[in-house]
Amino acid sequence: MKTFKIGGVHPEENKLTSDKAIEFLAISQKICIPVTQHLGTPSTLVVEKGESIKTGQLIAKGDAFICANVHSSVSGKISKIDTAIDTSGYKKTSVFIDVEGDIWEETIDRTNTINKDILLSKEEIIAKIKDMGIVGLGGATFPTHVKMMVPNGKKAEFLLINGVECEPYLTSDHRLMLEKGEEILVGISILKKALGVEKAIIGIENNKSDAITYLTKLALNFTGIEVHALKIKYPQGAEKQLIKALLNREVPSGKLPIEVGCVVSNIGTAFAVYEAIQKNKPLFERVVSITGKSLKNPSNFMVRIGTPVIELIEKAGGLPDDSGKVNSGGPMMGKALNSLDVPIVKGTSGILIMTRKESKRPEILNCIRCGKCITVCPMGLEPYLLAQLAENGNFETSEKEKIMDCMECGSCQFTCPSSRPLLDYVRLGKNKVGLIIRNRANN
């Protein structure tokens, strides 16, 4: 079975919700939609306070190149446009909506019939993906239409679909594959057409054998879609690792996957693309796993964007007494929330409630030079060195040591026997080096 070669770790899987069907979460009364939910230039608002809006109506427009539209996830009246805290605790411009009923835009097809015929041309598909505000739902939230526009002189050969879900606990992609398999495959066919590639490969880790069997069977009815099982290893869901695992190609440092003829997209994104193109439905809801060892009723919910996290937790049995940390995302790459009123955004793949014991970081000891961090780093970096350089403020050397290649998977910190905050310092270094690079480019 295939996997990537360098590094990787095996955290406990803890997929508690893999057999829980996706439920629709009742629409919250308090919806707060952040105006910018993607990676790139912020979007500009197109609605005003007091305006009545419908579900699926555009509320913020992405004009810049790397930018995405945002749509309303509910119908009602805009009560205010103000700042609200996001996952980091910093305030970002958000639209607050007083929910009234659930009136959808007429253009949206709400039936469940699976529409297999792709009528639009390549350019029309890309334009529509842009209109519908589709971003990468794996977590990075990179606008999908930008990914689909292959730069001049480059050629896409393969479309890789990431069904790996290597992050422990999370099962949103897994459930989507089982329940919306056919839609996903149509979505992949649309993406294939948009890119002009002949072949698409879905990579799925071997712990989801039901999804592998199901999608392999369905894929027989589609041309040029293959399903490959992959060995279980974190972080296989990372773009570059997935390419290495499926095609044994290596993306050069600082380059994008298109350099080796690949475009990588997520299962969730493929489903969103299907809904956008065939059903005219903008991206305003997504599957979110809410999970945790002490949570009473861990589930997978179909959630409208803008729903506060606390509502999901209450629906899943309430916040357990021994909760130590609530993460947006999984335990490896997720981010601890500092308020439970934070809204679900396009990039939220799961909410993980960790117990007090799990969330406590062990005491930081000295580096014993065991080199384990180097062994597990999937990018072949030296995390101990990068962390030390960043700690000492030596950012020029950090850059030479390829700190920008780090994708912040956290394998180094996970494996460190001295529990050193390696990733924290590498992130600090990346931030500073990024600034230095940007300054250099501007001058």
Binding site: N338, S339, P421, D424, L428
Partner: protein, 288 residues
């Protein structure tokens, strides 16, 4: 045996003499002509190489002084007026007296004023924490208390008070070099005039949020109400982005604004206790 010794001595000394000769001519040829004033000025400077002047070390600063030929906009925070007075005759000018300055921490978000809402146990550096989240109290402007300023200080003049979680600047040790100002990712520390008897009045908050959200996270936040600006007869106070700022050049230390501030965001330091309003002692660390 003797002969070997003599040969060796002759050989080595002639090589030495020859090299000396070469070096002499090379030194003549590539001589760097430097203004002798630079050496004189560098000798007067304290030699702490703290970079507080904005130059890479004392030597570099001396070069800048000699090049400029005057002391306008150039200041050695460590040496202060005494050093500048000594340098002035070297340049042939007269030094003007500058008021001594000190670093001031403009945040009163102690554990009691701005209670922790979440706990942070990541890497102990403010720069990283600032990139990661708004802070344990939720105030996106307030002090993170992880001590980047402490590490940056070369004069041991700043420490984190464990009771409040805020940095405290020592009146005696601080030379106002500005290293902490640069180190603080939130720009909380400011260099202000030291004034007579170390008496200072300043707005101990840099929160630019509107009143309600600012007050939600911290009891002593400046809410930008503008009362201090109205009461000030010297036009020393301005309000920008919901935040009051006292211009230390204009402030006469009359203390009217301190009484007026509804949230106790304005702090007075090292003043004798008031007679009539002895009860209105500030809740914040007076030792600051």
């Amino acid at each position: 045996m003797n002969q070997v010794l003599i040969y060796a001595i002759i050989a080595i000394s002639s090589i030495g003499a020859l090299s000396a000769l070469i070096l002499f001519f090379v030194a003549q040829k590539f001589k760097v002509i430097e203004d002798p004033k630079i050496d004189e000025v560098a000798d007067i400077l304290p030699g702490a190489n703290c970079g507080g002047c904005g130059y890479a070390g004392c030597r570099n600063f001396a070069e800048a002084i000699v090049k400029a030929g005057n002391l306008d906009n150039l200041n050695c925070p460590v040496g202060g007026n005494t050093v500048l007075k000594d340098i002035a005759p070297v340049l042939g000018i007269i030094a003007t007296e500058r008021s001594p300055q000190i670093a001031v921490v403009r945040c009163s978000g102690s554990y009691t004023n701005a209670p922790k809402k979440v706990e942070y146990d990541g890497a102990s550096t403010c720069t990283f924490a600032n990139n990661l989240f708004a802070g344990e109290s939720g105030c996106p402007f307030g002090c993170l208390g992880l001590g980047d300023c402490v590490f940056s200080c070369k004069f041991d003049a700043i420490y984190i008070d464990e009771a409040t979680g805020l940095p405290v600047v020592s009146n005696e040790k601080c030379v106002a070099c500005g290293a902490c100002v640069k180190a603080c990712p939130r720009k909380i520390i400011e260099i202000r005039n030291k004034n007579k008897k170390d008496r200072r009045i300043f707005v101990s908050c840099i929160n630019q949020e509107k009143g309600a959200p600012a007050k939600k996270n911290c009891e002593v936040a400046c809410i930008g109400c503008g009362k201090c600006m109205k009461v000030c007869t010297f036009e020393a106070i301005s309000i920008d982005k919901n935040l009051a700022y006292i211009d230390f050049e204009k402030c006469t230390l009359c203390r009217k604004c301190v009484d007026e501030c509804p949230t106790n965001a304005i702090i007075e330091l090292n003043f004798p206790p008031r007679k009539e309003k002895a009860k209105k002692e500030e809740t914040v660390n007076t030792e600051l």
